[in-house]
């Protein structure tokens, strides 16, 4: 098997706060192959954004990475240890070079007083040796590519002159203009209307094919995941609890939490099915449950076993991975 584009191993990360160390991500491991779309699903507070930001070392200064964590980026026949990149000049490869990111709130991601075009040109000139004229040409080409009408005129406009959907397109254009190998998309469609969301999803699918780029797609919307991702990883309270291909995870979820999520989702094809909520609330990260992190809300908890033993990942015969004692027991018996 060829090398994965990025390999995250045992990523553990806490934040120093006034109330002590708060664990945000706990032993998360995953690989993304070149050209693969990996969906990262979870509720707010599950640590999905923090995980993604770790790939670009963008977490705030009070973040403490566990020394066992490792992130390896494999580009151009080189393996780069992300945590060894200390100087800003070294970090350019993970910040806009090989990895780009688009954010949830497109209004907050652009500088309000600099035109969209200037911002696109600026980052192109930082990441390559091209001159202004060439950078402008490429930027306008990218704006055209993402379907912004009249790109030459739009180039000189400011973020407030763009509508929400346009801004997100411009954001995609900007992130892709340096031709990154990995695009991190953090809830890129959450702030958009469904009709605009559908346009942005189509656009991203086209671009993946065209540029052969991998995407780490973070969202809480399982429908968006179904339409975009190849692989899915489900997070809960900083832990990865299930991983597999999109068809496996959505059609045959193994972890009780994943099942609960799918049952809680209103579906248009079955209006008679009552909505089943996942009981209880997400525990505070200050007060993480012992044992399996989901045991406080789990409908099929085994009691004391689940409260003490932290379940390991096991892989079933189809390659789907799950961290749940009950599922593992059932599998062993079958």
């Amino acid at each position: 098997m060829s090398l994965p584009l990025i390999s995250v191993k045992d990523l553990t990360l806490s934040f120093r706060t006034d109330e002590g160390l708060v664990k945000a991500v706990d032993q998360v491991s995953f690989d993304i192959a070149p050209g693969e779309v990996m969906g990262l699903v979870g509720e707010s507070g599950s640590g999905k954004s923090v995980t993604a930001k770790s790939l670009m070392l963008l977490n705030p200064d009070n973040a403490v990475y566990d020394p066992k964590s490792s992130i390896t980026l494999n580009v151009d026949d080189k393996s780069i240890d992300v945590f060894s990149l200390k100087k800003p000049s070294d970090q350019m490869i993970i910040r806009g070079g090989a990895i780009s990111m688009i954010f949830q709130e497109p209004m907050a991601s652009f500088a309000p007083a600099i035109s969209i075009g200037e911002q696109m040109v600026e980052q192109l000139m930082i990441h390559s040796t091209m001159n202004y004229a060439r950078a402008k040409e490429i930027s306008i080409e990218m704006l055209t590519r993402v379907g912004i009408p009249d790109p030459a005129q739009r180039f000189g406009q400011y973020a407030f002159e763009f509508s929400g959907g346009m801004r997100q397109r411009a954001m995609v254009a900007m992130a892709l203009s340096t031709k990154p190998k990995l695009l991190i998309a953090d809830e890129p469609t959450t702030a958009l209307d469904v009709t605009i969301q559908a346009q942005v999803i189509d656009l991203m699918k086209d671009l993946v094919k065209e540029f052969h780029m991998a995407i780490l797609f973070i969202t809480h919307d399982l429908g968006v995941i179904a339409q975009t991702a190849d692989q899915v990883a489900v997070m809960y309270l900083g832990k990865l609890i299930e991983k597999g291909s999109v068809r496996q995870v959505l059609r045959n979820p193994q972890h009780p939490y994943t099942r609960g999520l799918l049952d809680a989702l209103p579906r248009l094809d079955d209006l008679d099915r009552p909505l089943k909520a996942v009981e209880g609330d997400i525990p505070s990260p200050l007060d993480r449950p012992s044992g399996c992190v989901f045991n406080t809300r789990c409908p099929v908890s085994l009691g004391s076993e689940c409260e003490t033993i932290i379940p390991e990942f096991t892989t079933n015969k189809d390659g789907q991975q799950v961290a749940c004692l009950l599922t593992q027991k059932e599998e062993a018996e079958a």
Binding site: E43, S44, S163, G164, G165, M166, D193, V194, T195, I196, Q197, A198, Q199, I201, D202, H220, D221, L222, G223, V224, A226, Q227, V246, R247, L250, G260, L261, L262, D263, A264, L265, P266, R267, L268, L271, P274, L275, K276, A277, V278, E279, D281, I282
Partner: protein
């Protein structure tokens, strides 16, 4: 449908824009000529993209937005008010009968008040109780109904998660025993696993207390699961309204069809159909002539660009505003 508790006729809300010295002042036509009946005890859904005027419409029904033209009659059997001409003392009474649940449970609760004080405030402001004991009694009763742990009443909102906070906002809206509730995107800020819980709570309270809900949402699958009637708005206009099942089974307006097809399917092999909408919703200060949807409609013809369609009755309480709906039935 039951007797309507809210009945609007040609309801319009316009906001004048300032900043121009001469000539005609530009006006935002946020809601334009909307006529609907909301049956007593129904869970009435209102959907549309941002900028379609659904929030303004909901606010107009609470008189939190001015009514520029048309009428809105509130009639709960005890009292009958015309909201466009309602008098001040009547409005005070109306506030007890109609309430709002907000979208963002993090912004809607004062961080300096305890949960008990937040829920009790409407009672105190409206003078609905005579003693502190009575207020406490009412607060505990409604808190239990909204599944708020009674021990939590002394705490401050910062200690609670989104779902818990939303239950507190719901308790506050219900404590004055209203008949009509506007829930504006009340589950949009919640996670999926919590959203189902709050929806189920709203449903059970509605049946318990015989309430009428106007449920404003941009999420069609949520509306499909909770509401019995749905109205679709576009650029301030009502474009289609029908009982939920009917609307989702037989959408007639091209905009409704497009909205439905834009929902991403949970099946990875179902790549959706090619009904995707191009472009974005036009600005309400400068709406296109004729049908407001014609700029994005694939079926638009000359007539659509000239004349604004009226609501056509299809029977079965199904109304649609489209010149061509008959031809477009597959």
């Amino acid at each position: 449908m039951n007797e309507p508790i809210i009945s609007t006729n040609d309801l319009s809300v316009h906001f004048p824009l300032t900043g121009r010295l001469f000539g005609e002042k530009p006006v935002v036509r946020a809601v334009e000529g909307v006529s609907v009946d909301i049956g007593k005890g129904s869970f009435y859904g209102l959907v549309g993209e941002s900028g379609s005027g659904k929030t303004t419409f909901g606010r107009a029904l609470l008189r939190a937005a001015p009514i520029t033209r048309g009428s809105a009659i509130y009639n709960d059997g005890e009292v009958k008010y015309d909201l466009s001409t309602i008098k001040k003392h009547e409005l005070t009474d109306y506030r007890k009968r109609a309430q709002l649940i907000f979208q963002d449970p993090y912004a809607a609760l004062s961080p300096r008040m305890t949960v008990r004080d937040i829920i009790a405030e409407p009672l105190e402001v409206m003078g609905l109780t005579n003693s502190r004991e009575e207020t406490d009694e009412r607060v505990r009763e409604i808190a239990a109904k909204c599944r708020i742990n009674l021990e939590h009443l002394r705490r401050f909102p910062h200690a609670f998660s989104g779902g818990q906070r939303q239950r507190i906002s719901i308790a506050r809206a219900l404590v004055s025993k209203p008949n009509f509730i506007v829930a504006d995107e009340s589950v949009a800020a919640l996670d999926v696993s919590i959203q189902a819980d709050v929806l189920n709570l709203l449903k059970s309270i509605q049946q318990d207390m015989g309430l009428t809900f106007l449920f404003i949402s941009h999420d069609l699958s949520v509306v499909a699961h909770t509401c019995d009637h749905v109205a679709v708005m576009y650029l301030g206009r009502l474009v289609e309204t029908a009982p939920t099942r009917e609307l989702f089974a037989n959408p007639r307006h091209p905009y409704t069809k497009a909205l439905l097809s834009a929902i991403p399917s949970l099946d990875p092999d179902d790549q959706g159909n090619p009904l995707k909408l191009e472009g974005e919703i036009p600005s309400p200060t400068n709406p296109p002539p004729g049908c407001k949807f014609q700029t994005r409609c694939r079926h638009s013809i000359d007539l659509c660009r000239k004349e604004e369609p009226k609501l056509d009755k299809l029977g079965d309480e199904h109304d649609v505003a489209c010149h061509r709906w008959k031809e477009l039935i597959d």
